[in-house]
Subunit: 342 residues, 2 copies
DNA sequence: TTGTACGCGTTATCAT
DNA sequence: ATGATAACGCGTACAA
């Protein structure tokens, strides 16, 4: 015999069949969307199932169909409210189309391989990643799963990987225009980590539009996408240089840290002395103490686009269907931190 | 024949065995932690597996062992950074002990039943819930899964449910002591939704200690656990009554909203005019604009306790092992919002 | 409409 | 140490 627990066993369709006096197939058909059973049989089966507390087991169906209806969702750093929101929306949207979320939190890239092995073992049909940091190594590891991968705001590429991203470059340009319109003369740019491709694009769009407007290249502040990093970067800058009069930050967390440091360490007023623009439009951006102008990435639309790609990849036969990129426009959300004549 | 995809098929152990010229059992043993194979055989198997890109499939093992090594994690509202952090820690901790996270986001209680049916179908070994709101209905639905459930900071009970919670009542008392020590005369309490049992406990502890210290009953403000709710509640209060000089909030989100409203709508200063205490110690509590005194629930310890309960329940034979409650002490984190002589 | 039989990919047992 | 085999619970083709 196999070494299974001889004690209790979950109720199976065989048990129900026995009690209902029908075949196991009849039970299966009763619980299948398009199974044809007579009303009488269905009645008996449902009664027996209820009596035993039977719950259809979806595991065997995975073996038969080769589809688990599970999607691996790989996240890193839910400390950022933006990613928490993204995960929230994904969980809802995926379940609505009958897909389960197998969550993988990846702190460091060492953990990634392990985590992906486990995903592979559970035969997830596809994977979605919202990794803030996208290295080639991560792309390779993900592609090795040989399942469709959708990257969220991260520029990994491979035949298996498609990408959905906000229009980072255009947003950077819009930020430059906004600050220029407000009369900014000494712009600064607070970048995220070098590996954050989205952040890089934002900075590039910002710099090129500033140049087009005849403004100097922005002072570079290096942050790490966290509140503390934003604060530290500003303090470092203030200790050696005069403050900028306009600051674009790679994300809202850093922007909030920057604002607090500008006020406290620099004794500066927002927006009178410094105009600040962030990115992500996290809930805290609208909190009155920050009242931060930001870019809404329109998560709902990004999630919808991701599901489209996912559905497309899962509809056809297995095989690499990646390489596509969908770019979603961002929406500028003007607030007090760039108010005219503050 | 069964109606499976006749096109491509994931590589199975049989394929590897064929290529390696060994039996399928040898392949299985090679990939099993305690399978005994000769070095020569292992070599051949690993080579063949690498050549074919074989990944062991864990699905059949679920059928044989009756254990999926998946845990359903039920969350509601990742908008609250506290719950985002909790989920983050769970994902890491569960994977460390070899358990997968099947994530279920439950917005309304209608969705709960559907979601739980799906969890049941995937035969999760156990479930963890961090539902902010715990109704008897939710408890019943969860218990119907007939698997061990651990409730996080929510007072659901049943033979299948055990609970891990922070010491809400004591924290409420400590908040009262702190405010009393600061000379507060007109205390107020901002509660969460009525269904939030944890919040109720905090308020009860607060009120009873205030009474013991000879202070009046706190003015009740009704919030909804969100920033906006906190703000609205304060605005409503200020429009009809003089402001309190000490405010304890059911969570930090409401406290941040309250602080902004006190400052902006009331023109009040924190802590000079009003001392404020929150709960959860979310990252935003330490942001300089709020500098909010709060209670750290020690998530790491709560998660550890949850995993202990989980491991205990999964170690023995299946059966109801619930009914236990673990209470974790909280840690007061004093900050500027209750500073002496602000 | 209903029942029988088979197979999904793996692990555990048994015999070699 | 290794190979053959049964079994897990379900969906489906086929026969009735």
């Amino acid at each position: 015999m196999t070494g299974r627990r001889p004690t209790i066993r979950p109720v199976s369709s065989v048990d129900v069949a026995k009690l209902a006096g029908v075949s196991q197939s009849a039970v299966s058909r009763t619980f299948s969307p398009d199974g044809s059973v007579s009303a009488a049989t269905r009645e008996k089966v449902l009664a027996a199932a209820a009596a035993l507390g039977y719950r259809p087991n979806r595991i065997p169906a995975i073996m038969l169909s080769g589809r688990s209806h599970m999607v691996g969702v790989v996240v890193g750093g839910l400390d950022n409210p933006f990613y928490a929101t993204v995960l929230d929306r994904f969980a809802v949207a995926l379940r609505e189309i009958g897909l389960q979320v197998l969550l993988v939190q990846v702190a460091d890239s060492v953990a990634l391989d392990d985590a992906l092995d486990q995903l592979a073992g559970y035969r997830v049909d596809a994977a979605v990643t919202a990794l803030a940091v996208g290295t080639q190594r991560a792309a390779d590891a993900l592609s090795a799963l040989r399942i469709p991968i959708i990257c969220f705001n991260s520029r990994l590429t491979s035949p298996w990987i498609s990408t959905v991203q906000s229009d980072n470059r255009t947003a950077g340009r819009d930020a430059a225009d906004l600050l220029a319109d407000r009369g900014v003369r000494r712009p600064a740019w607070m970048a995220g980590p070098r590996a954050n491709a989205a952040s890089q694009e934002r900075g590039r769009g910002f710099a090129e539009r500033l140049a087009a407007r005849g403004l100097p290249s922005p002072t570079l502040l290096r942050g790490d996408d966290t509140y503390q990093g934003g604060q530290d970067a500003v303090r470092r800058l203030l200790s050696t240089s005069p403050p900028p009069d306009g600051l674009f930050c790679g994300n809202d967390l850093m922007a909030c840290g920057a604002i607090d440091a500008l006020r406290q360490a620099g004794g500066l007023s927002i927006p009178r002395d410094v105009r600040v623009v962030g990115y992500d439009d996290i809930p805290q951006a609208s909190w009155q103490s920050y009242d931060l102008t930001s870019f809404d990435q329109q998560v709902e639309r990004m999630v919808a686009a991701t599901l489209d790609l996912l559905a497309g990849a899962l509809a056809g036969p297995p095989g690499p269907t990646g390489g596509r990129t969908v770019r979603i426009p961002v929406r500028l959300v003007p607030r007090g931190s760039t108010r005219q004549g503050g």
